[in-house]
């Protein structure tokens, strides 16, 4: 990561901000962990799709439908190379990370997890990577175990290893926690899980926008993420699955495009990846995701990580000077990946977020879809500021300004 001079940083800020028309300076958007704003390139790509090649892809024998199919499959190729999947057949388009995780639990899970098996997740999982496994274990009579991280949110290799045993058949874990911001050492954990004979599912919802994710390097069996968190439109997401597993899994949704032969007695399934893409696909969404990935690549993770780290550090250092502000998880900015969750003494998180809003700073309050983690952290709810690639020093200054006024505005002297 190269540090930039102040002038270089400001020039980069201006260049990036000019790509995001909604960010007109009238507000500070720090809720990127929830969803991101879209660059013009993404909106233009989607519009261009609908204005020049919209048709139902697959099977069409006319030029428009062929163009639509090409656009869709080009998007698949873009995703494949972005996460370095071995083959395009391993890229399945879904609606969002949640659907992807459910797909894995409904298909791989229902087919291969048996009574007496054990599934290991962590207490820091988002509900979307927790409840599907709770349900599966309930249905199958399997056991669900939660890894508890250390105080600072990290999970040491030895701790992970201590959860392994011959019954463990599946491990599912978030790459970056949407609350603590901590990054789990997926590469090591996947290796250990594999040595233990378990498949490894990675929830990439929060890592994909912030850091390079290489499924071959991490050696995970499944990865699920959402487009809307990486500057793409809502309504499109991705599951990567190892081909050998996808091939032996039953389909998830049944209907058009995922079949080969259908009779009144039954059906056979189409080849990968179509077997898992039932019904008319979201081609416009896939095109938007492809454009978003290209946009992210055009800036590069080198710059994105440096920018986000720089702001996280600046933000946390200021926050750490305020005795009534408490940051969840590590006190080191390098363990936060742009996600800073905190509380303020004497002020309820909902009021904090509402007052930030009065200062036109957008942050999130609540349990962040991680109620068991909140309980583990002994706090019913918190507020979270989360940084995206377009945030600037100025955003952090406004955030800190508002933060310093909150207790006063709530009537504390």
């Amino acid at each position: 990561m190269t540090e930039l001079s102040k002038a270089e940083r400001e020039a980069e800020d201006a260049r990036i901000l000019s790509d995001f028309p909604i960010l007109d300076g009238s507000f500070v958007y720090l809720d990127n962990g929830a969803t991101t704003q879209k660059p013009k390139a993404v909106l233009d790509a989607v519009n261009n799709y609908y204005l020049s090649m919209n048709a139902n892809p697959m099977r069409g024998l006319y030029k428009l439908s062929i163009a639509a199919t090409d656009a869709y499959e080009e998007a698949r190729d873009t995703v494949r190379s972005f996460i370095n999947a071995p083959s395009r057949e391993e890229i399945i388009f879904t609606r969002n990370a949640t659907e992807g995780l459910n797909l894995i639990a409904y298909t791989y899970g229902r087919a291969f997890i048996k009574e007496g098996d054990e599934i290991v997740i962590t207490i820091m999982e988002h509900h979307s990577n927790m409840i599907p496994w709770q349900q599966l274990c309930k249905e199958k009579g399997a056991k669900l175990t939660y890894i508890l991280p250390d105080e600072d949110g990290t999970i040491a290799e030895e701790k992970f290893r201590s959860y392994m045993n011959p019954h463990v058949k599946l491990v599912s874990m978030t790459h970056i926690s949407n609350v603590l911001g901590v990054k789990n050492d997926i590469k090591t954990f996947a290796r250990i899980a594999h040595e233990n004979g378990a498949v490894f599912v990675c929830d990439g919802a929060q890592s994909i926008p912030h850091t390079k994710v290489d499924v071959q390097d991490l050696d995970v069996d499944f990865l699920s993420f959402s487009g809307h968190k990486i500057y793409a439109p809502m309504g499109i997401g991705v599951v990567y699955g190892r081909k050998a597993l996808l091939e032996k899994m039953p389909p998830f949704l049944f209907g058009g495009e995922m079949i080969e032969y259908v009779t009144t007695e039954g059906a056979t399934w189409n080849e990968l990846p179509h077997k898992f893409e039932a019904g008319t696909v979201n081609d416009g969404g896939a095109v938007g995701l492809s454009a978003a990935i290209k946009y992210v690549n055009s800036i590069g993770f080198d710059r994105i990580e440096e920018r986000e780290y720089h702001l996280t550090k600046m933000m946390m250092e200021e926050m750490q000077t305020l005795p009534y502000v408490h940051i969840l998880g590590s006190d080191k900015p390098e363990n936060h990946h742009g996600i800073v969750t905190f509380t303020i003494d004497g002020v309820h998180p909902h009021d904090i977020a509402a007052i930030f809003d009065e200062h036109d700073v957008d942050i999130r309050a609540g349990h962040h879809c991680a109620q068991p983690l909140m309980k583990f952290c002994h706090t019913p709810s918190t507020v979270r500021a989360s940084i995206g690639l377009y945030n600037t020093e100025d955003d952090v200054i406004k955030f800190i300004d508002a933060l310093k006024q909150i207790r006063g505005e709530m009537g504390y002297k």
Binding site: G346, V347, H348, P349, H350, D351, A354, I355, E358, H359, D360, G366, H367, P380, S381, E409, M410, G411, Y412
Partner: protein
Amino acid sequence: MASTFYNEILTDHNINPTHKYKMEDATFSLEGVNPSCGDDVVLYLKVNDQNMIEEASFFGDGCAISQASADMMCDLIIGRSKEDALRLSDIFLRMIKDTITPEEKEELEEAGILEDIHHMPARVKCAVLGWHTMGQIFRDADEGKIDKYDGKFEQ
């Protein structure tokens, strides 16, 4: 910065509530919870034979809006009959949802400051938690369902 919704009346009721305590000898008590926000408030009422609210208090966690709203409600209903309290509650709930007349607003006294809450739809449930809990207490009591200290009600 725009004018704050968190004015002095509201923050004062939140930080220095008059009626925030557990009431040992309440006639009725009921826990009201708001799952989406995590607000969790027990409302206590001491009601005499003439259906007069002699004492009202609340206890629990929640945001400033839920706390201040409950405190202002207690202020308002102490010394009133059950019917009167329910009538005021009806005005309050209409104010939050819709609009009321200036005369009606007058009747709500300080609780009238919560009128602007309909600009903050995510907070409506906080503002009405105490009021809904009171309504539920009287409904449950009418049906003989409520017993001291053990009700729980989710909105």
